[in-house]
Symmetry: C2
Amino acid sequence: EKQPCMPTHPQKPLIIKTGVQFTTKVRLLVKLPEVDYQLKVKTTFDKDLPPGRVRQFFILTNNTKVMDIEDYSNGCLSVEFRHLQLKEKKYINGTKGNEGLLSVTEELHSLSFEACFTVQGLTIDLETCSLPLVVISNVSQLPGGWVSVMWYNLLSDEPRNLAFFGNPPRATWSQLSEVLSWQFSTFAGKGLNKEQLSMLGGKLLGQHASCSDYQVSWSKLSKENISGKPFSFWMWLDSILELIKKHLMPVWNENYIMGFVSKEMERTLLKDKEPGTFLLRFSESHLGGITFTWVEHGDNGEVKFNSVEPYTKNRLSALPFADIIRDYKVISEGVVPENPLKFLYPDIPKDEAFGRLYNIQPSKVHPYITSTLIPISQLRSNTTTTPSACQSPEPPMTPGEFDMLSEHLCFDINSMSSPYSE
Amino acid sequence: EKQPCMPTHPQKPLIIKTGVQFTTKVRLLVKLPEVDYQLKVKTTFDKDLPPGRVRQFFILTNNTKVMDIEDYSNGCLSVEFRHLQLKEKKYINGTKGNEGLLSVTEELHSLSFEACFTVQGLTIDLETCSLPLVVISNVSQLPGGWVSVMWYNLLSDEPRNLAFFGNPPRATWSQLSEVLSWQFSTFAGKGLNKEQLSMLGGKLLGQHASCSDYQVSWSKLSKENISGKPFSFWMWLDSILELIKKHLMPVWNENYIMGFVSKEMERTLLKDKEPGTFLLRFSESHLGGITFTWVEHGDNGEVKFNSVEPYTKNRLSALPFADIIRDYKVISEGVVPENPLKFLYPDIPKDEAFGRLYNIQPSKVHPYITSTLIPISQLRSNTTTTPSACQSPEPPMTPGEFDMLSEHLCFDINSMSSPYSE
DNA sequence: ACAGTTTCCCGTAAATGC
DNA sequence: TGCATTTACGGGAAACTG
C-alpha cells in the first residue's frame, strides 16, 4: 500500500552518516477516498528494535510531516522528509551498543513510517519500513558500509532481515563478479571486461577462479586481509574505484586502463611488442595506486620491463594522469631526457590515444616564466622488475541481474545528497 | 578582584568560531576568608548588549561551574570552562543583527563572568568580562577577525569598547610595522627586517613611507583593496603568513626568503651578481605565492632577469619548496636541461644554503622505478620581466612594545584550541 | 597497548540572505 | 544581480573506549 521509492541521487543509498542530513520519500500507492483532513506521516528510526546488542540512533530533527498530492505523477499522496539527521543515543549506564560480534558496518537498521486515518468510521493504520540501513559516523566507513549494502541486496530477498550479517550467506563468483562490474559501470562509467574479472577472480579465489559457481564468503571479500597486505580485497578494489572516480574517469572510459592484469600476464602481453609499448595497471601492493609498465630492449637485445612507482591521489591531484603520460621522462646524468612511453598496448601511438585528454598548458600571467611539474625518473643503474605469481583466466560473464540489484537499491535514502541540490 | 588569564595556546585568541569549542578561565585574585560552600561562576555571552545592530549569540553548552583551588600557583580559586560553544540567535521577526555599517569581523562581543557569595552576612557580587571578541562562522573569516583583534589591542586601552570599529583610530607606521613584524615572529618564527618593512611601508603608504609617524587608517590596512588588486593589504600579507606557516617555515627561518622586495630593488641587487644568482620573493599579484628571480647574461652580454610563475600552496603541497629549488630545470627542445639556480643572493652556493632542507628521495618499494615530480620551464622564446614602481627605504625599527600587545592578548579565549589538547 | 569507532574541525563549495 | 555571510560536509587527524 505504501512504498519507499526512487532516489534522486542514485549514488550510495541505504547508508546514513550521523550528523549529516538525508532525505527520504514515501508514497501512498492506493488512492484514498476523499480525505479532507491532513494525513500525517511519522518517521521513526529503529522503531521496534530491542535495545542492546546494537547501537541506537534517533532522528534529531522534525520527524512528522503532512502528505501532499504529488505534482507530477498520477495524483498520488506522498511526503518527502528532508533535513533528517541521525544521532546516537548515549546511555548513562554502561550498556554499550554493538558488542563484539558485528562491526558497525554490518549492523543493520531501518527507518519506519506510520500514518493513521479514519475513513467512513474505520480506523486504518498504515506502516512500512525501509530496506536495511547502515549507519556510519565518518566517511572513512563508507566503503565498509557500501559493501554490506551490496552483499545484503545481492543475497537476500527479505525486505528487513536485520540479523543478516550474524550468519551471512556466500555468493557465487558469477554473482559477485557481476556486482563488481556493476560498481565500475555505475561509479566510473564503464564496467569490467572478462579479462579484468578473471584477474580479480584469481586474486580473490586463487586457482578456483576457473569455476564460476565457486562460493565466495563474506569474510573473504571484505573482512580478511589479502595475504601479506594490511587490507581486504574489497578495500583494495574500492580504493581503485575512488581513484578512477576522482582522477581517471576519462582515461578509464576510453578503455585505456587495462588495470587488472597479473604481472605475468603483463609480461606475456608486452614481450613481443614494439619497444616503448606500455600498459596501465593498478597497484596491488598499495591502496589506490596506478602505474605504467613499458618494454624496452637492452643493449644486448634482451627484453626489459619497467614500471614506475604507482601514482596515488595526492600526486594525481598535482598533475592529471594524461599529462603524466605525456610528460614522463627518464633522465640520466648529462643526457637529453626521453619519454619512454610510445605506444599504448597493443600499438596505439601515445598521442593518438591520449591527445584529447591532455590538459592545455595555459601560458598564464607574464612577466613570469610558466612552470609545470613533470614526472621524471632518474636512472642510475638498471632496474628490472621481478616476476610474480600467475593467475589462470576466467570464463566470460554475461550481463543481467543488474535490474534486481538496482531495484533493491532504489529506496530513497541517500545520506550523501544535499537536500538543496535540486 | 578577578582576572582573565594566560592562554594555554598563544595562537589566535579572542576569536571564536560558532559551533567550535573554546575554553576560558577565570581566577579570583583576592583570597577569600574560608568559604565552605561551593562558589559558582556563570558565563554569559554579550550580557548587557542591547539587541539590534549586531548579531546575537548564546552559549550552547553548560555555562555554570564551581570554582576550585588551583593545583599549582598560590592556592587561588579558579575555574576553567571547557567545551563552550557559541550559536547565533535567530530571530523569527525580521530583525537581523549586523546592519550595514560594520562587517562581521568588526563587530565586537564580550564574555561575562558572574559570581555571588555571602561572607559574614555580607552579600558580594563579583563580575568581570573579557576583552572584546570577534565571532566568525567560517575559518575564511579568520584573517579579518585577527586583524580586528590586533588593531583593537594596538590602539585601545579600554578593556571593553565594543563600539571601537564605529570610528577606529589610526596607527602610526611605526606602531603598525612593529605589529606586522611581531606577526611573523609569532607565527613563522622570525620577524621582519628593516628592508622588508621598508618595502611593506612603501606598498601600503606610497611615498610617505619614509616618515615613521605617518598615520595608517584601519580602512587602508584591511578594508580598501590594493589598487588594481581584488584584495586588501592585510589579506595579501596574511596569505603570505599562512604560506610560510604551512610550507616555508624552515626556509623562512634560515632567512633565505628576502620575500618583500620591490621589482626595481630586485634588479638593483641582482644585476652585478654572478649569473645564476637568485632570490626568493612573494608574489604581489596573487595571494599566497612565492617565486624566484635569477640573473643571466644573454648571448650579447646583456643582463637578463627571469622569474617563475609563483608557487602556491597547492603546488607546494605536491613538492616542498627546497626540492623545487634543487630540481628546477629549464628545458629547451633537444638540449640537456639545466638548473639555472646557482647562488642564493648574495653569493651562497645553492646546495650550501638549502642542502639541509632537501627532502631525501626515498628509494622506495622496488620493483618500481621511483619517480618524482620536477618543476620545469619550457623555454620557447626569451622572456624578460618588466620593471615596476620604486619604493624608498625606511628608517630602522626598534623592538619593544611587544609586551603591551601580548599582555592585552593574553586572555584565554582560544577558539582554535581543542579542549583535549593538554 | 591497541584497534575500532567517534569526534573534532579545517577548508572548500554551495546555499542563503541582503 | 552581486556580495557578504553562513551552512554543509568530505577528509585527515586526534580523541575516545572498551
